[in-house]
Amino acid sequence: MNADIFLWLAQDGVTNGAIYALLALALLLVFAVTRVIFVPQGEFITFAALSLSMLEAGRVPGTIYILAIGGLAAAAIEGFGAARSRAWRRLPRIAALYVVLPLAVALLVAWAAPRKPDQWLQVLLVLAMVVPLGPIVYRVAYQPLASASVLVLFIASMAVHYVLVGLSLVFFGGEGLRSSPFWDARFKLGVLEVSAQSLWVLAASLVLIVALWLLFEHTIYGKALRATAINRVGARLVGIPTALTGQLSFLLAAFIGAVSGILIAPITTLYYDTGFIIGLKGFVGAILGGMASYPLAALGALGVGLLESFSSFWASAYKETIVFGLIVPVLVWLSLRSRHVEEEEERE
């Protein structure tokens, strides 16, 4: 391997690693606040990336149907609950949030798609379609399980993953899509040729990470999220509604998933189920960071990106095996480090 190839691989690794880092942060956030191991995060990546490619081709993305179906399901659950407690005054709000809003977005996209809007508008439309799916998924699948154990929530995650991948195949079909880059230019940086798309990915990741930091350090909602993650009972006692923090964390996760999908769409060809594997690489990163520390998780995710990039050079067929096999030595290390593992004994 010469220096050029090395640098090229490193660039590739850092670019993917930055996306994995975003995902790792979202996964940690959701886990800390809701104790949900959010496997279906990957599906948001798929939805966003495939929607972007379809909008580019002037086609109406299937995401609008998923959004509409999800919205109606959430409205049905909320509406049923309101009817049972005779809280009729809640109905208009439920209708606005879960029926009118998703349908409006769906119609807007259906109207706009054939007109091939500007790339920036496409991105906004994709966000408008995918981000609301976060709270909707939380409302439909997880909120009824808010008090369940981590393992039950994990099974729920696998069930949601199954449903979303199933829907993904129905509405996107089996073909692989890749969108065109935002910026086609390439720069010479010394010996290294940098693609503008890579710079985009890095810049967007950095901006998002800083934005998240500001949110958590300087807004009361961000602090409420952290407080919930630190002490759930304490959070309830100061009046932080757990449903709100759950929806908020899923909103952020969906947003991060959607942004990751938009960033990765021009780099990789995605199929209806690719997001699962991308999301899991974020998980491997988070585990490298011990499932607790945000900076360590981000570093771990960068490491995953680099490992993947270099192993695709040395043993491309075994790239995935190596990346996912990486988890074994990490677990050995974690296992040696933890003396006593009763800290999280489930409650009966």
Partner: protein, 248 residues
């Protein structure tokens, strides 16, 4: 006098085991009511259920409104507030942020109102102001209890539930805490106080209940109960053989 809190036939069960059976209890507006009893009698369970942390059966009226089944956040928004036995602070947030979050349900009142209350809390607990930027997890036991109380005050409660406020505290700090409780009473806050330290509780309270194995076995004005032989034997004296050491 109207009631701040009224429970009737109030039961709490863990699985099949009932930890509290058909309790009836009343806190008059502006009064301090104490529930005393041995460990495992169901006192903490009672407070948790009043806050909606545990599912309960029976009637719960707060300031005239039926709140059975209401989520905890609604109870907090209506002015109920619990200082739990385990304090339940946000250990990895600063003292300042802990207090700020105490006013979470008042976030729409604006930063100025909260800042004014924060200043009041700091005036009451100068120790907390010194440590404002320290993480809550680094505080000592007494400081934690002050932070827990301070956080509760930020919520501007109308009914304050206190679970073992003297637990694990040195006598000097216990005295301080009880001064604050008496002070709060003067501002019109109603209180439900759960204590092992029966003597202290009976001294500040207007009315008292004795809880044993999930049942209310005795009740009456606090001063009367303090003289009841059963209370003296079990909770106040170290059995009948002990000398009646008064609070010095």
């Amino acid at each position: 006098m109207s009631a701040a809190l009224e429970l009737e036939g109030f039961s709490v069960a863990y699985g099949k085991v009932e930890a509290l059976h058909h309790a009836s209890l009343r806190v008059a507006e502006g009064a301090i009511v104490t529930v005393i009893g041995p460990n495992g009698a169901g006192k903490t369970t009672l407070l948790g259920a009043i806050m909606g942390l545990l599912p309960s059966k029976g009637r719960l009226h707060y300031a005239g409104a039926a709140l059975e089944g209401a989520p905890t956040e609604e109870r907090v928004a209506r002015g109920m507030c619990l200082v739990p036995e385990r304090r339940e602070l946000f250990a990895e947030l600063s003292v300042h942020d802990n207090l700020l979050l105490g006013g979470f349900h008042r976030r729409r009142e604006g930063a100025r109102a909260l800042a004014a209350d924060m200043a009041q809390v700091y005036a009451r607990f100068p120790k907390l102001e010194e440590r404002a930027s320290q993480l809550a997890g680094t505080l000592s036991g007494g400081e934690r209890q002050m932070l827990a109380l301070g956080r509760a005050l930020m919520a501007k409660p109308r009914l304050l539930l206190l679970d073992e406020p003297s637990l694990g505290l040195a006598p000097r700090i216990v005295r301080e805490i009880y001064h604050i409780i008496a002070d709060l009473k003067r501002t019109g806050v109603s209180m439900l106080l759960v204590e092992q330290n029966a003597r202290a509780a009976l001294q500040v309270a207007d009315y008292a209940y004795v809880l044993e194995v999930g049942d209310i076995v005795l009740q009456g004005p606090a001063a009367e109960l303090a003289g009841h032989p059963r209370v003296i034997e079990t909770y106040l004296g170290l059995s009948s053989a002990a000398p009646r050491a008064g609070a010095s």
